[in-house]
C-alpha cells in the first residue's frame, strides 16, 4: 500500500500529543503493526525535541514532518530551521556498559532512533535541516 501524509508540529513539546494523534490516524490507514506505530512516534519525538531543546527552533517556525509507506518501506522526513545539526556525525553513542551510579542521564534518544532505522540521510539545504529516516520492517 502506498500512502503518505504531512504533519506540521509547533515547536513545543505540548504539541507531541497532536503529532501522536496524527501518526495513529495515518497508521490505521497504512495498516501499520503496533510496534511500528510505537517506533515512529518515538523517532518523531526524539528528533523534534532535539530540534526544539537544542536547535533553537521556536515561535513561528514549525517542524515539517512527512510520513510515507511504499511497499515494505517506511520513510520519515523531518525539516526544521534549527541550528545545523547532523545526527549521523554530530552525536556519539552512549556507553551502555556503565553501572547505574555512573550512567549519564542523557544521550539515549538519538541512540534509540539509530537502532530503529535502516537508513539515515542528512543535508543542510536552503537554511533548513533535512533529515530522512528509512525503515524496512514492514514485511
Amino acid at each position: 500500500m502506498n500512502v503518505s501524509t504531512s504533519i506540521t508540529m509547533q515547536p513545543d513539546a505540548e504539541d507531541l500529543e497532536n503529532v501522536f494523534a496524527a501518526v495513529e490516524e495515518f497508521a490505521e490507514r497504512a495498516e501499520w503493526p503496533m510496534n511500528l506505530v510505537f517506533q515512529v512516534k518515538l523517532i518523531l519525538e526524539e528528533m523534534s525535541l532535539n530540534v526544539i531543546n537544542y536547535g533553537g527552533v521556536e515561535g513561528d517556525d514549525p517542524i515539517d514532518i512527512k510520513l510515507k509507506t511504499e511497499g515494505d518501506t517506511v520513510t520519515i522526513e523531518i525539516k526544521d530551521v534549527g541550528q545545523p545539526f547532523d545526527p549521523i556525525k554530530d552525536a556519539p553513542d552512549p556507553d551502555l556498559g556503565l553501572p547505574l551510579e555512573q550512567r549519564p542521564i542523557g544521550g539515549l534518544g538519538l541512540y534509540l532512533v539509530r537502532t530503529m532505522v535502516d537508513e539515515m540521510h542528512y543535508k543542510w539545504h536552503d537554511g533548513r535541516n533535512h533529515l530522512t529516516l528509512i525503515t524496512r520492517r514492514l514485511a
Binding site: 513539546a13 501522536f20 551502555l96 547505574l100 542521564i105 539515549l108
Partner: protein, 112 residues
C-alpha cells in the same frame, strides 16, 4: 499519564498509566518521587498500563533508580509491554534495573 500507588507485602507499588513523553516526563518523575519520598522501603514500578515511553521518560526512571540506590532501597520494574521492554533492552536498562514479568513475581522477589 496517571500515577497511583499501593503497598503490597514489603514493597511500595507505583503504577503508571498512559504515556510518559517529553511533555510530561518531569511531572511523572515528581509524582513518583512524592510517593516514594514518604517511604524508605523497596519500590516496584508497575508498567502494565504504560503504552509509550521516550528517552525523556527513561531519563526520569534512571533518576528515580539513582535516588533509590542512594538511600539503599531495592527497585524493580514489572509488566513491561513488548515495545517498552525492547526499548529497555536497547538502552541497556535491563542491566541496571531489575525487570520482572509480573507484579506478583516482583513482590515475591522483593520479599526474599
Amino acid at each position: 499519564m496517571d500515577v497511583t500507588s499501593q503497598r503490597t507485602g514489603g514493597a511500595l507499588i507505583v503504577s503508571v498509566e498512559g504515556r510518559v513523553d517529553g511533555a510530561n516526563a518531569r511531572k511523572f518523575q515528581k509524582a513518583v518521587e512524592s510517593v516514594i519520598d514518604d517511604d524508605d522501603g523497596a519500590v516496584i514500578l508497575d508498567m502494565e498500563n504504560l503504552s509509550y515511553i521516550s528517552s525523556a521518560g527513561l531519563r526520569s526512571i534512571l533518576l528515580i533508580a539513582k535516588g533509590l540506590q542512594k538511600r539503599n532501597s531495592q527497585f524493580a520494574v514489572c509488566s513491561l509491554q513488548d515495545a517498552i521492554g525492547e526499548v529497555f533492552r536497547i538502552v541497556g536498562f535491563d542491566k541496571i534495573v531489575t525487570i520482572h514479568s509480573s507484579q506478583g513475581e516482583a513482590v515475591s522477589a522483593m520479599g526474599s
